[in-house]
Subunit: 84 residues, 5 copies
């Protein structure tokens, strides 16, 4: 699982039906990498969260038919990103 | 899930039968990494898309027997790649 | 599997129910990468551990319904991180 | 899926039985990373190919009991590696 | 699959039961990355091996209940690491 910060909600066109109705958000790691996750938790921009990948991501999204490989699992209280 | 830009459609020889009939496209990340994905969405060159990996990629392609580990899930409206 | 050092226990709000009741810990690799894992072993801060990823992580956590992609598998005796 | 170039066929000793009888080849990415894949396609040294990872790799190899996490899916016509 | 060199056998405390009785070894890549794998092949320190990841790793270890995401698949004869 990874620690990422919520950056923006994505607006999608031509999306697959199997994505369901959860918001899909762009998240950024402490090293600047951008990833995309389903958000069943209801995060706000700027929240530090941890994400669950691969097969567990589908169950985490609430329905194993959902088309996701990354889902927000929870919001981390009081996370201090490292100084580089 | 990752954010990638559509670069070109691949022309393949000697391909496996289980790849089916969807177009297979080369995509590039913001850091320059090149990946290959099935495209059930019908993207155009230059579109910014997000991709779904691993077991969900097969369902995303429309048939879990398809041989893919990466499938386009949707086109992102108005994505602004980061300045580096 | 990877070798990581236990850094801190995470305090989570708004977490998914399927995470169960094991502690969730931030771990750091020798190169400084931060990852998050479930800990069924009972590690202490500073322990060097190895982690199990993806589908085996769920079984390692003791119940394959648990929402994890990374679980601590054991504590390594006498690990000497490399000099860089 | 990734784009890689065929580098050499591996000669193996003490290999597991579940690897079957397909050739196992070392492939190199455009950034110099070396990976190993099963080859059901019959590639030649120097061919640019794309590879399929994880669970789909086993089906791609022709039998889901085969012990592989990476399998060649097809040969790419006329691939021009990027100038760096 | 990846090419790695056997570095040392790990001594573990507080390990999970589901790890079984195979040796668990630290391996190092040509770029210096350290990974951990189960070894059903019986490798010696310094051997160049290839490893099988994720779901196939569990079958490669001989029992799909084993808690592993990386297993040694075979020893490579006469591997010449690249000059950098």
């Amino acid at each position: 699982m990874q620690i990422l910060q919520v950056k923006k909600e994505l607006v999608l066109t031509s999306r697959l039906e199997g994505l369901g109705h959860l918001p899909i958000k762009a998240l950024v790691s402490q090293t600047g990498e951008v990833l995309v996750a389903m958000d069943p938790v209801g995060t706000k921009l700027g929240d530090w969260v941890f994400t669950i990948a691969n097969s567990a991501a589908r169950d985490a999204a609430g329905d194993k038919r959902l088309l996701t490989d990354l889902t927000v699992g929870g919001i981390i209280d009081d996370w201090q990103p490292e100084q580089k």
